[in-house]
């Protein structure tokens, strides 16, 4: 049985025991389960596994934190840090915003209202402010799949519009990506605010979806939290649907209700105005109070200013002052002569009505007041001046004794306590004393007067009496009274006239009677009257008579010092006569003249054509030896001198007469225009200040003469022309006749007329052609007839014509022939320096060209295609040859000769040969060979290349050959 069992289930039994062993041994079991655990967990239903594991994991985490918080912190650190940072940032923003709002509303009316509300409801003031002041509306909310940017859900506020939300959500995530990529931003949260004017886009990023709110206005920072809460809720509720979103949002319809809560958030604008009411109330209180304070302060200031002004016033003593209830009280003493305190108020802006003053009068003993009082009581005369000197009052000047007495009394009174009054400097001037003084002064003045002798004088009862002698020439005693303060009415005088013999009176009388010339001076020297100087003998005689008269008792009159000057005077008279004679001479101007020591000096201007001043001396009795003259020549503008000069300078022809007519110079007659031009120039010069020069009566006789001159000029020009020989020329009745020889190459005589001013219509010319042997003309002719190549140059060297350069032999031969001909005419043409042009290169090419032939098929005029390379080569050779030939000064021409074979009729053969040549010409032309270089002929059968028999024909003869010709 056992054996049977072993046989039947032995293997299972051992297997079972192995499994049982496995289950019993914990280590083995753990190893087995460990093998399958990862794949078992992977296959388990998500929800169940999560639920099963959650408590264990929670406990594990709890233990881990208890054991070492550090480990878990390190793990979560990258996750926490950005979240914490963002949260703190928002909190700070929130604080700032509420602070701003609070500050803004502290002083407004509404602010007060809100404070009340905060106090009443027990909430913080900033909360109340935010609640009222933020004006915003959430217009749209988008829920966007984070992976694909596809729209999951979208809700809109009432009346808000937008474009296709699907496109917008994609674009928003594109912009998120763009910013993240562009600025290398690693942060997972993405763009959380976009602001455009009034619009803000706030986005909150969740694990699978992003929520974007479009907000118009000014949202509070708290709104972030609200939005975040909504997003969290959506993720909680529909996490799986969000994760698996593949563009089909039918699973997520519930989300919209959540979004709707966001859209409902709004804060309507309330009427926000300026706090007028509060401001008005405050103003109502503040303005009057401020004004009152200011005004009372200001009036106090003014009162103080007035008081200090009073204090500085002399004669005013302030005893007491005070201010009470806006009224001012003042008491004190004042001198009647001091300034009026009331009048001092004006200008201080203190209201006089509010000033209550109480002034007692007193007499101030300050010197200035005393002085005033003295001046008032003493009334000092004008001659007395009162002043204050070191606190003393001093009187100075003159006063009658009466006043001095009163002053002295006043001084005595003052001595009782006032300042000293000093009158010691006042002189007593009683009227009598004064009048006597003045009279005495007058008398003593009279006594010092020459020519006045006071005999007697006295004063009696205020009247003055005086007698004496006075010379008529002396001062008038009466006039001397003025200024003496002596009253003329009280003066009684009695004056006798007499002739004073005092020298000065005698001098006066002599001066009056003798009238001495300027050259005599009279003076008093030690009581004698002395005459000095020069005088003519007549005056000296009269002076001697006077001296005799005076000798009877008067002072001596000494005339011994007067020199008799009559001879000089006479000579001077003559000189003056001579000078005035010079003055009347035309063409002489006396500038200066003088006499000194018997010599005569004269300077001035004289025209060379005027009379000679020296010659005029004769007959004047002036001694020429004593005359020193200095004459400058000048051109006189007097008409007669001008006439003389014009005659000398213009040399008028005999046919012209010059004359003076009423200060004008007039020319009459006939003259050529050249003379008239010169005369006109002279007239112009004279117009600057000289007499008029009238040439209007001179007739111009030049045209004929000028025409003749021009003709002569033309003829001499012709004669100078090479290749023109003038044989004969005459002028007859205004017409010109000329005959001669001219070379055809010489200048055209007719053309030479232009510019000569000769009238071509009046020229009659007869020219025979001839060949000039002038080398220049010979060269021209040779150039025309020989047409030398470019490589040859003709030049004239010392009348010989020399040809230099390279030329083809043919041309050299022609040049030699020409040289021979010319030598017979005596002209040398030197061709010895010509060198023959080397054509070896060209010859080689020419042979190559001439060896070429173009072949044709029987009866054809167009060569076969196999001839194309031959034509190409030939064209190149022809062009090269033509070019090289041109360089050497020769023209190459190519003859294309067409040929035919001997088959057929001859006429046909001739025309076919010509046609072949034409064809080749056209083909060469097409290849760039100039057509004018190509000549064509048809030779028919006449120039066969090989002999042939007419029946078979020969392909060798059906050709076009080329010959080269050089011109």
């Amino acid at each position: 049985m056992e054996t049977l069992r072993q046989l039947l289930v032995g293997r299972e039994i051992s297997e079972l025991s192995r499994v049982a062993h496995l289950l019993d041994e914990p280590e083995q079991l753990a190893a087995a389960v460990g093998d399958v655990l990862p794949s078992a967990a992977a296959r388990a239903a998500h929800a169940q596994l999560g639920e099963a594991l959650a408590p264990a994991v929670e406990r594990a985490v709890q233990r881990s934190i208890q054991k070492s918080p550090r480990t878990l912190t390190d793990i979560l650190y990258p996750v926490f840090l950005p979240a914490i940072r963002k949260s703190i940032g928002e909190k700070i923003d929130q604080t700032f915003q509420s602070l701003n709002e609070s500050l803004r509303h502290i002083f407004t009316w509404r602010g007060l209202k809100w404070r009340l509300e905060a106090w009443r409801t027990g909430t913080s003031f900033s909360e109340v402010v935010l609640k009222h002041s933020l004006v915003y509306r959430v217009e749209h909310v988008f829920l966007i799949n984070r992976n694909s940017g596809l729209l999951i859900a979208h809700v809109t506020a009432e009346n808000a519009t937008s474009e296709d939300p699907q496109l917008i959500s994609s674009m928003l995530s594109a912009i998120q990506d763009f910013v993240k990529d562009s600025f290398n931003e690693k942060e997972q949260s993405g763009l959380d605010t976009i602001r455009f004017g009034e619009l803000r886009l706030w986005s909150e990023v969740g694990p699978f979806a992003t929520l974007v709110a479009v907000i118009r206005g000014n949202p509070p920072e708290e709104l972030h939290e609200i939005i975040r809460d909504v997003l969290l809720r959506i993720h909680d509720e529909s996490s799986q649907a969000l994760e698996q979103f593949d563009g089909d949002s039918s699973q997520l319809a519930a989300v919209e209700t959540q979004l709707q809560t966001c859209v409902e958030l709004k804060q309507e604008d309330s009427n926000q105005g300026f706090p007028w009411l509060v401001v008005a109330a405050v103003l109502l209180v503040l303005v009057p109070a401020g004004a009152w304070f200011f005004l009372s302060w200001q009036s106090g200031q003014r009162w103080q200013a007035y008081l200090s002004r009073l204090g500085t016033q002399p004669g005013i003593i302030v005893a007491e002052q005070k201010m009470r209830d806006g009224q001012f009280f003042i008491a004190g003493l004042r001198d009647p002569l001091a300034a009026d305190p009331q009048s001092l108020l004006s200008g201080t802006q203190v209201d006089p009505a509010r000033v209550h003053s109480d002034w007692q009068f007193y007499q101030s003993l300050e010197p200035e007041f005393v002085l005033k009082r003295l001046t008032a009581s003493l009334a000092p005369p004008d001659s007395v001046r009162l002043s204050i000197v070191e606190d003393r009052i001093v009187a100075e000047g003159e006063a009658p004794d009466t006043w001095i007495d009163r002053a002295r009394a006043a001084a005595q009174q003052l001595s009782a306590g006032g300042p000293a009054f000093d009158i010691s400097k006042v002189r007593d001037v009683s009227p009598e004393a004064r009048a006597a003084e003045r009279w005495q002064a007058y008398v003593s003045r009279l006594q010092t007067q020459p020519g006045i002798i006071v005999a007697e004088q006295k004063m009696r009862d205020g009247q003055f009496y005086i007698t004496g002698l006075r010379d008529p020439l002396a001062a008038d005693p009466q006039t001397l009274l003025s200024g003496t303060q002596v009253d003329p009415a009280r003066v009684h005088s009695d004056w006798q006239f007499y002739q004073s013999l005092e020298p000065e009176f005698v001098l006066k009388r002599l001066t009056a009677s003798l009238t001495p010339p300027d050259s005599v001076r009279l003076s008093i020297v030690k009581d004698r009257i002395v005459a000095e100087g020069e005088a003519p003998d007549t005056w000296i005689n009269r002076a001697q008579a006077a001296a005799q008269q005076l000798s009877a008792g008067g002072p001596a009159f000494d005339i011994s010092k007067v020199r008799d000057v009559s001879p000089e005077a006479r000579a001077a008279e003559r000189w003056q006569a001579y000078v005035s004679q010079l003055g009347t001479q035309p063409g002489i101007i006396v500038a200066q003249q003088k006499m000194r020591d018997g010599q005569f000096y004269i300077t001035g201007l004289r025209d060379p054509l005027a009379a000679d001043p020296q010659a005029l001396l004769s007959g004047t009795q002036v001694d020429p030896a004593r005359v020193h003259s200095d004459w400058q020549f000048y051109q006189s503008l007097e008409p007669e001198f001008v006439l003389k000069r014009l005659t000398a300078s213009l040399t008028p022809p005999k046919s012209v007469r010059l004359s003076i007519v009423e200060d004008r110079i007039v020319a009459e007659g006939e003259a050529p225009d050249t003379w008239i031009d010169r005369a006109r120039a002279a007239a112009r010069q004279l117009s600057a200040g000289g007499p008029e020069f009238d040439i209007s009566r001179v007739r111009d006789v030049s045209p004929e003469a000028r025409a003749a001159e021009h003709w002569q000029h033309y003829v001499s020009r012709l004669e100078a022309q090479p290749g023109i020989i003038v044989a004969q020329q005459t002028v007859r009745s205004g017409h010109f006749y000329i005959s001669g020889l001219r070379d055809p190459l010489a200048a055209d005589p007719q053309a030479l007329l232009s510019g000569t001013q000769v009238d071509p219509a009046r020229v009659h010319a007869q020219w025979q052609f001839y060949q000039s042997l002038d080398p220049k003309f010979v060269v021209k002719r040779l150039t025309a007839s020989l047409t030398p190549p470019k490589s040859v140059q003709l030049s004239i060297i010392q009348d010989r014509i020399v040809v230099v350069g390279e030329a083809p032999a043919a041309w050299i031969n022609r040049a030699r022939a020409a040289a021979q001909q010319l030598s017979e005419d005596g002209v040398t043409l030197d061709v010895s320096q010509l060198r023959e042009l080397s054509l070896a290169e060209l010859n080689h090419l020419r042979e190559a060209i001439q060896a070429t032939a173009i072949f044709f098929y029987s009866g054809r005029v167009v060569p076969g295609p196999e001839q194309t390379p031959v034509l190409d080569r030939l064209a190149d050779q022809l062009k090269e040859f033509a070019q090289n030939a041109r360089k050497s000064g020769v023209t190459a021409r190519f003859m294309l000769t067409g040929h035919s074979d001997a088959v057929g009729r001859e006429t046909a053969n001739v025309s076919i040969s010509a046609a072949r040549a034409e064809t080749v010409r056209a083909l060469l032309n097409k290849r760039g060979v100039a057509p004018e270089l190509l000549q064509v002929r048809g030779a028919g059968t006449f120039e066969p290349a090989v002999p042939e028999n007419s029946r078979t024909g020969s392909s060798t003869n059906r050709r076009v050959s080329v010959t080269v010709n050089l011109d």
Binding site: S148, L150, Q166, L167, S170, G247
Partner: protein, 163 residues
Amino acid sequence: MQKKICMLGGFAVGKTSLVRRFVQSIFSEAYLTTVGVKIDKKSVALPDKTVDLILWDLAGEDDIGSFRVSYVRGAAGLVLVVDGTRAATLAVALTLRERAEAEFGAMPFVLLFNKSDLADQWAISDSEINELRQLGWQIYLTSALSGEYVDDAFRQLASMVTK
């Protein structure tokens, strides 16, 4: 049902003009040069449903290095556009697809050879196109001028991405 589709292709292959007549668009083409992407929508009616293709038209770049591959994230399919007159743009389109798939895994696509109206400048041989077709690729010769096959291509892609 919406699907994100990215349009990829080299510079000036005609992506933008290809779709201009067939799509709903609110953004200006300036977005292409500023943000580098322009988003259009094409609704395709399939027998059983309507699919909104949200087309991300990525700025064409011949410089593959500046391709913003992040824009392809979450895309359900690709439209590869080649300029049929410039053979090099085929290589550009294929490279862009490789970049996109390397980043986000294989996804369905259609390959459009554009500018089929310019027959005389055509630079892609038929044999080349046939070889690509034999790989099972959906290939269309399109013309922005005539609009030929553009709708067909979008319809094909829509059915591919909703399968």
